[in-house]
Structures are given as structure tokens and as C-alpha cells.
């Protein structure tokens, strides 16, 4: 049965004259037009419902007059595959990547934390996360239109980045849900091998709610390209968009929302939870780098869905992001390995695998915006700089970030965010800034001002995630507890927290 969702996406055009261009960044515009032919009675009921919740409803009736949006089957097929690829990144990609890096007595604890955090966030995403991230609200957080997945059915449509092109909202919901899941799972690496399981769960709920959903809203939410009817409409559209989106911050697939966000939370966690017993005195070695290699490789494959899928359409932008994900990662593997080989004497497998992840992280915000050369340079730099992130910087920070979440995702994420501002420049082969009104790239581009905007995006993420994480960790510390006993830690979390062991010996 057909239902409709008259949540307005048309935009007030009474705003002041403005010729502000808007970036093409990953967003989810909530567009939906009525299909009155389907079920007018239901539509009216929904209209009444949303009239209470959404002031923008007034415009919905206008939208209803427009043709009902129809999704392209190619886009749907592509994005469903991409969503599955992003899920594949976490399970088993990230789980194996992390699992191999811990000692054999803790491998199951990391695997179960990844699996449970993923599952928990998936449910929270449906309950309220998606609504807070991707429905109209204010500049910092969305509203409650989609709480308890209200109205999320097969007939709801969402916008893409092209006027008049839509995808079923369910597709967008699951694609974005997979992002939320992997972001929360990434954090686990920082406090692995000594954290209390219940503490991880409570922290995840708190941080997901108060850091992830607002970041996703601030960076990605906008009312959709159709709202950019004219230059006059632009300020009104931006007023309804997320804070960083309106500022013009470029983040194609989640450098700020996913990587910097998670990395800062992880770093704060590694400080609050404290160092592992024996850290710096005993040999704390990865127990199975084969697992880590397999995990890193799965991450790379899955990342094609993560980055290329963020185009939200099966089009040339997706192809650009795909190729950039291919090249930047390869460049980062070579970058990390070269510097490590020259400075430490040996090229290590763990280094090469870490380089791959560093490159993937760094190209994430840039994926659809930069050209091939830009991608290679970003990747190579990420490989080299993240090697410093897990060496010099790590010593400087003095935290036991067990699996180098900050050194790789934080450093790579920040580097990628800033370099996106550089290499998105058309002069350097980038796509420039997309003007949704004319549906062309603007001819002018200032690297300096874009890098400044990018930096603001980074700073907002660092502050928001840092503060939320600190409060969340302290709440956990003084309620369910954040850390297992020293005795349990020495024996290993697999036995003491989960009552099982991974290997016979």
C-alpha cells in the first residue's frame, strides 16, 4: 500500500538576495513529494501529523503539486550494494583489522565489541539516530520526524545531488546507518584490551546520540538540490541546512563525521581509561598480522562503497570517487612503506596495511572532489604523515591509544579534510564548488578560503566530539565503570569478560 510523506522540501524564497554557492557534499536532503494519486486519505492524515511537527509542511502542499519523484533502478541497485559494502567494512573488515592487532587473550573481546556496537547503533539509528541526523531541525541537529522510523517505508523518497533525481529513503537510511555503525565501532580500537564491556555499550549510546547525530546533521543535511530554485532561494535553503554544510565545508564521504569524530573520541577515551597494564615495559605485540592484513584489505574493498556510494547516484561522480579511492590508497601504502623503510630500516607488513587505512581515511572527504593527481598526492602524504602519527605524535600525546585510532584516523582525517580544500580547486584538477542553482561548478575557487572553511569543520568536530566523549566517558566511569580489574586485564578479556578463548593455546 502506498503512503506518502509530505515533508516539505521546497524552500522559502522570500529570503534576501544571495548568490552563495553550495558545495556538493554528501548530504541527505529530505525530499519527498506527495503522491496523491496513491492514497490521498493517507496523505492527508500524514499531512495533519506533520503539521504539528514540521513548520515546513506549509510548503509541502506546493511540492505535492509537482510530479511524484521516481527513483532510478540503477541508483537503487548501486547504493544497496554500497550499503552492504560499508557493512562489510565493519563486519568483518574492521573487526579482523583490530582483532589481529591485539594480544591473543583479547581478540574475542575486540570482535564482540565490534559486533555488538554495530548492532546497537543499527537499532539506535532506526529508533532516533536517523531522525536526529537527517530530518529538518536547526543548524546543529535534526528533528523528530523520523523517530521510531515513523513514515520510513518503501514509498518515502529522498533527494540525491541532482535536481529531479531521487532514491528511496530506505536506501539512504541503510547506507547512512552503516556509516553510523562503523564510526562508533572505530572508537573501540583506542581503549582496547582493558575496557569494561558494559562501559563500551553505555559510552556508545551516549556518544552516538550527542556527537555522531549532530555531526552528521551539521555536515550533511540540506533540503536537497531541488530547493535551490534560484539565487534568491539560496540563503533560505542554507538557513535550513546543517551548520557546516551552510558554511561550505567539503566532506564528501565523512572525513569529519566519521574519522575525525571517532578518532577524537578514541583519543579522549585512551586518556580517561588509562594505559594498559605493562604499557611501555612489556612487549604488547599484535597477535596475528595475517588477520590484520585481511581486515585492511576488506576495508579497502568496502571503502569503494563508502566513498563512491556517497555520490548517492550511479554516475560519474561515483566513478571519480571510486578511482580516487583506488589510487590514493595505493599511494598511501607506498608512502608509508617508503618512509618506514628509509627511517626504520625495514618495510613492515603492518606498516603497509596501516598505510592503506591512512590513505582510505585521507581520501574520504576528498573522494568526489579531487582529480586523480590530487588523490595520489593526498594518499602519499597521508601514508607518510600517519606514520608520524603513530610514532612521534603518539609519544608526544602520551596516551595509550592501543590500535592507533587517532594516529591513523585522526591525523589522516585532518590531513584529508585540509587537503580537500587544496585539491578540490579546479586549477589543481578538482571539481571546484558546485552551484546547485545552475548545476555547474563555479569558475572561481580560493584555496586559502576553502582550507580555512575546512579547518573550521575540523575544529568544530574536534571540540564537539572531544567534549561529548569526555563527558560520556566520565559518566560511564562513575556509573557502570570503564575499566576491568588489573587481574582481569592480565588474564585477558576473552576469559574474564566473555568466558571463552579464541585459540587452544
Amino acid at each position: 500500500m502506498k503512503t506518502t510523506h509530505p515533508i516539505g522540501s521546497t524552500v522559502a524564497t522570500s529570503m534576501k538576495e544571495g548568490n552563495q554557492a553550495v558545495m556538493h557534499s554528501q548530504i541527505h536532503p529530505r525530499v519527498s513529494a506527495d503522491d496523491d494519486r496513491g492514497a490521498p486519505r493517507v496523505a492527508a492524515a500524514f499531512a495533519a501529523l506533520f503539521a504539528l511537527a514540521t513548520p515546513t509542511l506549509a510548503f509541502a502542499q506546493d511540492a505535492a503539486a509537482a510530479a511524484a519523484p521516481v527513483a532510478n533502478k540503477g541508483d537503487i541497485a548501486w547504493l544497496l550494494v554500497c550499503a552492504a559494502l560499508v557493512i562489510f567494512m565493519t563486519l568483518p573488515g574492521l573487526a579482523l583489522f583490530y582483532g589481529g592487532l591485539v594480544r591473543s587473550k583479547n581478540v574475542l573481546s575486540v570482535l564482540i565489541q565490534t559486533l555488538i556496537v554495530f548492532s546497537l547503533v543499527a537499532i539506535l539509528w532506526a529508533l532516533y539516530g536517523y531522525s536526529l541526523a537527517f530530518t529538518p531541525g536547526n543548524a546543529f541537529i535534526g528533528g523528530f520526524d523520523r523517530v521510531f522510523a515513523k513514515g520510513l517505508d518503501a514509498t518515502a523518497m529522498g533527494a540525491t545531488f541532482t535536481k529531479g533525481v531521487y532514491i528511496p529513503e530506505l536506501v539512504f537510511f541503510v547506507f547512512q546507518g552503516a556509516f553510523a555503525c562503523i564510526t562508533c565501532a572505530l572508537i573501540i580500537g583506542a581503549f582496547a584490551e582493558r575496557v569494561k564491556f558494559a562501559g563500551v555499550l553505555l559510552f556508545t549510546v551516549l556518544w552516538f546520540t550527542f556527537a555522531y547525530t549532530p555531526m552528521a546533521h551539521m555536515v550533511w543535511f540540506f533540503p536537497g538540490p531541488d530547493a535551490f530554485t534560484s539565487n534568491d532561494a539560496v540563503p533560505g535553503v542554507l538557513a535550513q541546512s546543517g551548520f557546516l554544510f551552510a558554511k561550505g565545508a567539503l566532506d564528501f564521504a565523512g572525513g569529519t563525521v566519521v574519522h575525525i569524530n571517532a578518532a577524537i573520541a578514541g583519543l579522549v577515551g585512551s586518556y580517561v581509561v588509562g594505559k594498559r597494564v605493562g604499557y611501555g615495559r612489556e612487549a604488547i605485540k599484535p597477535h596475528n598480522l595475517t588477520q590484520t592484513m585481511v581486515g585492511a584489505s576488506i576495508l579497502w574493498v568496502g571503502w569503494f562503497g563508502f566513498n563512491a556510494g556517497s555520490a548517492l547516484e550511479a554516475n560519474a561522480v561515483a566513478a571519480q570517487a571510486f578511482v580516487n579511492t583506488f589510487l590514493a590508497t595505493a599511494a598511501a601504502v607506498l608512502g608509508w612503506t617508503t618512509v618506514e623503510w628509509l627511517s626504520k630500516g625495514k618495510p613492515s607488513m603492518l606498516g603497509a596495511a596501516s598505510g592503506a587505512v591512512a590513505g582510505l581515511v585521507a581520501i574520504t572527504p576528498a573522494a568526489g572532489f579531487v582529480g586523480l593527481c590530487g588523490a595520489i598526492i593526498i594518499g602519499a602524504l597521508a601514508g607518510a604523515v600517519c606514520l608520524w602519527g603513530v610514532n612521534g605524535l603518539k609519544r608526544l600525546l602520551g596516551a595509550d591509544d592501543a590500535l592507533d585510532v587517532f594516529g591513523v584516523h585522526g591525523v589522516g582525517g585532518i590531513l584529508g579534510a585540509l587537503l580537500t580544500g587544496v585539491f578540490a580547486s579546479p586549477a589543481l584538477g578538482g571539481a571546484g564548488i558546485w552551484d546547485y542553482v545552475t548545476e555547474t561548478a563555479l569558475p572561481e575557487y580560493s584555496i586559502a578560503s576553502q582550507v580555512w572553511i575546512q579547518l573550521q569543520g575540523v575544529l568544530v568536530t574536534v571540540v564537539l566530539s572531544g567534549v561529548v566523549a569526555l563527558i560520556a566517558f566520565l559518566i560511564v566511569k562513575y556509573t557502570v565503570g570503564l575499566r576491568v580489574s588489573e587481574e582481569s586485564e592480565r588474564e585477558g578479556l576473552d576469559i574474564t569478560s566473555h568466558g571463552e578463548s579464541a585459540y587452544e593455546n
Binding site: S348, K394, G407
Partner: protein
């Protein structure tokens, strides 16, 4: 009777077994062990963390022999296990008071 305990390089096991068999030793027991001696360990580097690995993997080979075949066994074992480089290992010889073959109850030299 003597008990020979040899610490050898793991890859030398097959040669040692063949050499001992040739001089009439009819059984050996092998254990994977770790230890250190004059051979230096190595360093391992995992991202920023560097560890010195002092204990190297070796095999401990044990065999009981009659007094009469001790010299031949020692010579065969040493020749087979030798590479000439630091880390070839050591051989220890101890006196053995009793030996019992569990299946038959045979004692001492008969049980070897």
C-alpha cells in the same frame, strides 16, 4: 646410561634425527623451547612500538643412550646440528639411573 639433552636450531631437527638413528639411537623426544645464549635476539617494530626479542625459539632434543654409544651419539649429534655460527646450541650429558620400558617392564640398557 646417559641422558643427552641438546638445544639445537629448529631447522636442524631432521638432520639430527637421521644422524642419531644411524649411530643406533632408537628414540628421541623433542620439545619446542625458547631461550637465550650468546646469539643476540632481534628487534621487532610494530608501528611506533619497538620490542627487543631476547628469547629465540630452539628445539630441545632428549635421548637416552648406553655408555658405550655415548661418544658416537655426541659426535653424530654435534656434527648434524652444527652450522658454525653463533646460535648452534649446546649439548648436556647427565647420568641416568634407571630406565623402564613401560610396555614390557624391561629395565635399563634393555629398555633403551
Amino acid at each position: 646410561m646417559k641422558l643427552i639433552t641438546a638445544i639445537i636450531r629448529p631447522f636442524k631437527l631432521d638432520e639430527v634425527r637421521e644422524a642419531l638413528t644411524e649411530v643406533g639411537v632408537s628414540g628421541i623426544t623433542v620439545t619446542e623451547v625458547k631461550g637465550f645464549g650468546r646469539q643476540k635476539g632481534h628487534t621487532e617494530l610494530y608501528r611506533g612500538a619497538e620490542y627487543v626479542v631476547d628469547f629465540l625459539p630452539k628445539l630441545k632434543v632428549e635421548c637416552a643412550v648406553a655408555e658405550s654409544s655415548l661418544e658416537a651419539a655426541l659426535e653424530a649429534l654435534a656434527n648434524a646440528a652444527r652450522t658454525g655460527k653463533v646460535g648452534d646450541g649446546k649439548i648436556f650429558v647427565q647420568s641416568l639411573e634407571r630406565t623402564v620400558r613401560i610396555r614390557t617392564g624391561e629395565l635399563d640398557d634393555d629398555a633403551l
